[in-house]
């Protein structure tokens, strides 16, 4: 197979507002990513129209016909089918070198040139999580949180800064990061790793100084965005913390005895007590890093014929049975620590 194999592509499942999607696409295409595959998980004509006119984005609307009227209920199942389908579609695209699965609240932090010199089939970028603060100037968090050592976790728990000495109490989200892989029809994604169908390990390196930046609730506005559509009656099966915060958010945002200003203040307190990080303490522990995101690596468009090939392949795959593209996801309870 010939071709440059040097383009870095992402795949994502999206169900968000146009401003958020726009912001995220613009940012991603400056971080070293060259092309984006976006699977729309719900019907948003404005988001779809904007993405479709973007030359560096390929869009798939995953409607009932896409799922052959058998849409998997768990969100990770749908994400993985979309990502695996993308691997199949990209396998014959000569310029495509890597595919990463990222979410709308994530970004890749890496040096493109260094990364492309690496040789393996797969690479995992561990998580750095945005330090949460009500407001950050400039639309980006100034700091990210590093992975702590076990002794840091014990000390932080002892000081009452986290509820328990474990990573799930320190990070709001996952800490395993995300894995990128060279596209091939046999490869399957899991949320944080990859394997070869049916169940063969793929050797994965962790390149130094490359990270998955996780933004989830990095500021109050983002927190509000995240929980805006939560309904307590739909919370069955969610983990306690998520149900607790979501239900509290819903209750405070709609409290009949409070004015709008009082509701906003209560939601701010909810953020302070559950999300917000103690910056001086994290600094004392050496757990802060300056925001490492590089926005100076603009996308290098794929050749036009490659984009055409990719989109033809995606069309061919649009209505095929999705069962062969499902991943063997680890069951809850057998899931690796740090997977959320």
């Amino acid at each position: 197979m010939t071709g440059s194999h040097d383009r870095i592509v992402t795949v994502s499942m999206v169900s968000d507002t146009l401003p958020n999607v726009r912001f995220w696409v613009d940012r991603t295409l400056r971080t070293g990513v060259d092309h984006m595959l976006v699977f729309l998980d719900d019907h948003r004509p404005d988001v779809q129209a904007w993405l479709e006119q973007h030359p560096m984005v390929s869009v798939v609307h995953t409607d009932a016909a896409y799922w052959n009227h058998d849409r998997p209920t768990p969100l990770p199942d749908r994400q993985m089918v979309n990502a695996n389908l993308s691997l199949a579609a990209l396998a014959k695209v000569p310029s495509a070198g890597w595919l990463f699965h990222i979410d709308v609240d994530e970004a890749l932090s890496f040096d493109r040139e260094t990364f492309l010199e690496l040789d393996p089939r797969a690479a995992r970028f561990p998580t750095l999580e945005a330090v949460a603060k009500r407001r950050w100037r400039g639309g980006e968090p100034k700091y990210f949180k590093k992975q702590p050592r076990p002794e840091d976790l014990y000390a932080l728990a002892g000081l009452g800064a986290i509820a328990r000495p474990d990573l799930d109490a320190y990070f709001r989200g996952h800490h395993l990061g995300k894995t990128g892989v060279r596209p091939s029809p046999d490869v399957r994604f899991r949320v944080h790793s990859v394997y070869e169908h049916p169940d063969t390990k793929i050797e994965t390196i962790i390149p130094p100084d490359m990270h998955l930046l996780h933004y989830a609730s990095w500021c109050l506005d983002d927190f509000v965005d995240r929980w805006r559509d939560f309904r307590p009656e739909d919370a069955a099966g969610r983990p306690f913390r998520s149900k607790n915060i979501g239900t509290a958010f819903y209750t405070l945002r709609n409290h009949p005895a409070m004015s709008q200003a009082q509701r906003d203040e209560a939601v701010g307190e909810l953020f302070d007590r559950n999300i917000s990080d103690d910056i001086p303490l994290l600094r004392d522990f050496g757990l802060l890093v300056d925001n490492p995101l590089r926005l100076d690596q603009p996308a290098r468009p794929m050749p036009r014929e490659d984009v055409a090939l990719l989109e033809t392949r995606l069309k061919e795959l649009l209505h095929v049975d999705k069962t062969p593209y499902k991943s063997q996801l680890l069951q809850v309870g057998r899931r690796t620590d740090g997977s959320r």
Binding site: P232, K243, N244, I245, T247, A248, F249, Y250, T251, L252, H255, P256, A257, M258, Q262, A266, E269, L270, R273, N274
Partner: protein, 344 residues
Amino acid sequence: MSAPQGQVTPDRIVTATTLRDTPDNVDRFVRRTLGSGVDHAIVFLDADQPKVRAALEANPHVTVVRTGKDYWLGDRPSVVLDRQMANASVAAAALAEVPSVRWVFNIDGDEVLDIDRAALARIETDAVRLGTLEAVAKRKWRRSEPEMFKRVPSSNELHALSALKLIDAPEISAFFRGHSLGKVGVRPGADVRFRLHTAYRLPEVEIEETVQEDMHLLHLESWCLADFVSRWQGYRADRPKHRPHRDERLGAAYSLIDGDTSIGAAERDKRLGELFDRLVADDRAVLKRFDLQVRVRRREVAPRPLDRSDVAALEAALARIGAESKEGYRPTVLEAEQKAASAV
């Protein structure tokens, strides 16, 4: 009033209560109860308290039953809750022989009914359920009775309080000091058995109830520092009495301070006040902010006396049942109630 038996429309409201308390507290209970719309109070005296008994017997609106050896006949339940339920069931059976009585409520010494006689008279079912309001706990209230009460929050509200770290868990037992299940009133009957928060007919038949949103069971427990102290006075941590865990913790802390011979009375009072502030008192700013308190204006209503013949019938029935074995009056226990009782 003098209508012949069989034609009288029953409308009288009676309470059944098991008591063991100081003369002052019992006096307060009686005045509070008989001013709330209740016409007659049956008091089962759980301890030998001649002074209390004499005072109660002097009140024409009160009937006293001393539940001593002659009453339990060697089979006294060791847990107070079991004695309360048996006594209330005895009252329900005895009152079946009193034509003027429509309602009997099983209430504790620290509870008071917030009821409307006229509304109760309109209820057609044989039972009525009143939800709990719990007195807001504050060191001192201006009046001799609490006016502000906490309502039972919704599950969503409990989540909000816990996520804001204002309570330990999104559970009612983290917000209320005591029970939240309310109490029922029933039409008296020989086959009625009271549980703590429900009632049924023998052998195990549900009684249809009306849920009355605008009437309440007011739970006063530890509503002020003085009441807190009088509740725990004499508590011995080394003699557990099947109390809920929260109570045992409070009681242990109380008796540590109360029994500390190295401190004077002033220091002791100061420490008891601190204990109250930390473990009992409510944060009134929080209650106000989340609209969790309600003001209950207490109705001052005079009791409507029972006819002399009705009092006689009641006393005769109580004397008769009082001499029987109480085995048949002890209700089957609901797991849910038991769980709730040990959780608070």
